[in-house]
Amino acid sequence: MSDTPRFPTPLEEKVSALDEAMLAKGLGVFLSSIDFRSAALLNSCVHCGLCADSCHYSLTIGDEKSLPGYKVGLIEKVFKRYATYMGRNFPTWVGAHDFDEKMVREWIDSLYGRCSMCGRCTIGCTIGLNVPSLVGAARGALAAMDLVPPGLQSTVDKAVTTGNNMGIPTQDWLETVDWLQEELQTAVGDPSARLPIDKEGARFLYTANPREPTFFPLSLIAAGKIFYAAGENWTLPSEHYDLTNYGLFSGDIGAARTIAETLVKTMERLGTKTLVIGECGHGFAANRWEGPEWLQKEYGFEVKSILEIVAGYIRDRRIKLDPSRNTKRVTLHDPCNLVRHGGIVEEQRYILRHAVSDFVEMTPNREKNFCCGGGGGQLAMSCFTDRRKSAGGVKAEQIKQTEAKIVVAPCHNCIDQLTELNKHFKLGVEVRTVCEVTANALVLPAE
């Protein structure tokens, strides 16, 4: 391990104040989070270094600490030291290392600061190590020691205490939905068009990113327009509409569980059969795949992405699209948690092929797509902003190569990151959600 990382206050103060008891707590949490899968992975790395080309941090920043193998190595060193015969008795021989302040600094710097948990390294790994799961386990130890970077921790805290990660009061949400409903009615020319709230017996419950009512209301109207055109029986909840779960990123599984359970209880309260996750990568992964594991129960309802719903509408001819209404060249960014971890791969492509007249893929794409750099809680961790923007250089280059005018991303975290990259790398593109582009192409029933 090379230069000892330092951090801005208050994180630096907390790290400097670490004592044996706190280190033991973190270590205990780490070791107890290791299940048979992680134990197998931590026995398997062959230190080949071929993961370097898979990682946007490694490709842009280029130093040793950004290499996925180095990051896994930091976790492996601690695992070996405390959980293997050779690590306990011959640590230097196998590269094992104590879980001390130096190691904690490296963990924070590399595992929070140089990783978006995108999993592209997993696909490229010689052995196939599930790197995000290991990074998540390590982040959990740091979270137990109260060493989550402040912006990310406050996002999780707000979600746990207020029911949404931006702390938007319920009244504000309801008022926003009210005026958005008026906008929808104007957009579709029908005063009976609704953004229903707490409708019991609806076919599905639609959830949104709290950033939508605050910063991207058009994306909510777009979804409403599509549901209107499809004649859907749906509802928004009056409370707990937040599909995000930043516990996935902070590593605090207790918080992740609490946040996931909130949506489960909302579903049970309203008796809806399908939870529809709006355009959000980690929101989909957290609710569709991780929530049942955190809560250790099978959900009594389906969890679907809005993209599955809209693709179904197109296939079943419930909505009609006119691609000539979207003439600018469009390219698609594949959000890592939606595609590589979520399995929603073809739906967005199917939708875009019907909604736009000039659709071009990025290279590579699908599960091999590069992370935009905004995942893993990076957007909430201001102490690592410069690295995040730098690491987004790979995505910027992908976008440039398509010569697209519009980048579509079915994820609001990605939208935020892509918007920043647009400015930083002067890409000259518009950034849109799939629903926005689709709503623009909608041929309404009255037309």
């Binding site: 299940d35 048979f36 899968r37 134990a39 197998a40 992975l41 026995n43 398997s44 790395c45 062959v46 230190h47 080949c48 270094g49 071929l50 080309d53 898979s54 040793e64 600490k65 290499l67 193998g69 180095y70 190595g73 015969y85 050779m86 230097t92 021989w93 196998v94 590269g95 997993t122 696909i123 490229g124 790994c125 010689t126 052995i127 196939g128 190590l129 599930n130 569709r288 795949w289 049942p292 594991e293 809560l295 099978e298 959900y299 389906e302 693709a311 296939r315 595609v339 590589r340 971890h341 979520g342 399995g343 791969v345 073809e346 739906e347 492509r349 199917y350 590579p364 699908r366 599960e367």
Partner: protein, 213 residues
Amino acid sequence: MQPLSPLLRGAVAVSFIVCLASLTILVVRTFSFGKRPLRARPRGSAAGGIAYAFGAGMMPWEKESARKHIPTYTAGILYHAGIFASFLALLAVIMPFEIGELLQAAFHIFLAAGFAAGTFLLAKRMLVPAMRPISCPDDFASNIIVTIFIASAFTAPFVPVASTVLAGMSILVLLYIPLGKIRHCFFFFYTRILFGLFFGRRGVLPHHAAIEE
């Protein structure tokens, strides 16, 4: 080739059993870390994912890291081919059994290529700066003892004492496998199954066809 003494043959056999038993214990021991059933409803096929993990997922046209590092990928294949050939050469020394000239020639090609590949990988680890922070003494030792093992297999038919050296190196390799990273000879399969299970269940891999009208 010089026949091995019964003692040496016995030692090789015991080493093999100890190696196999130790690796099995290591694998079984991972379950002591906890096993919770997966609760999320699958979207795809775990079996399909596993088939992909061991098939197409290892090919350079699918695996970017292989495609972008053809020399290292090729060296890896040749190295492992050399290792398998070395164990077969060890069997030929222990049993002993005769193999035809053509097969012998093929063996020697694999052994030579394996030795060259092992040397290349060792040199890469020593000389490429990016490899140093991810390397520890075990990485070097594993490479060195296995490459010497291959070299002893190559020379066994030609140098009388080489059979003894081959047996000795095989004991060293077999006893070292569970202690260091060479345990990946077992764990590779375990981890690829987990890879296939993860991406297969989630419907990510193998690739699905585009949605039809």
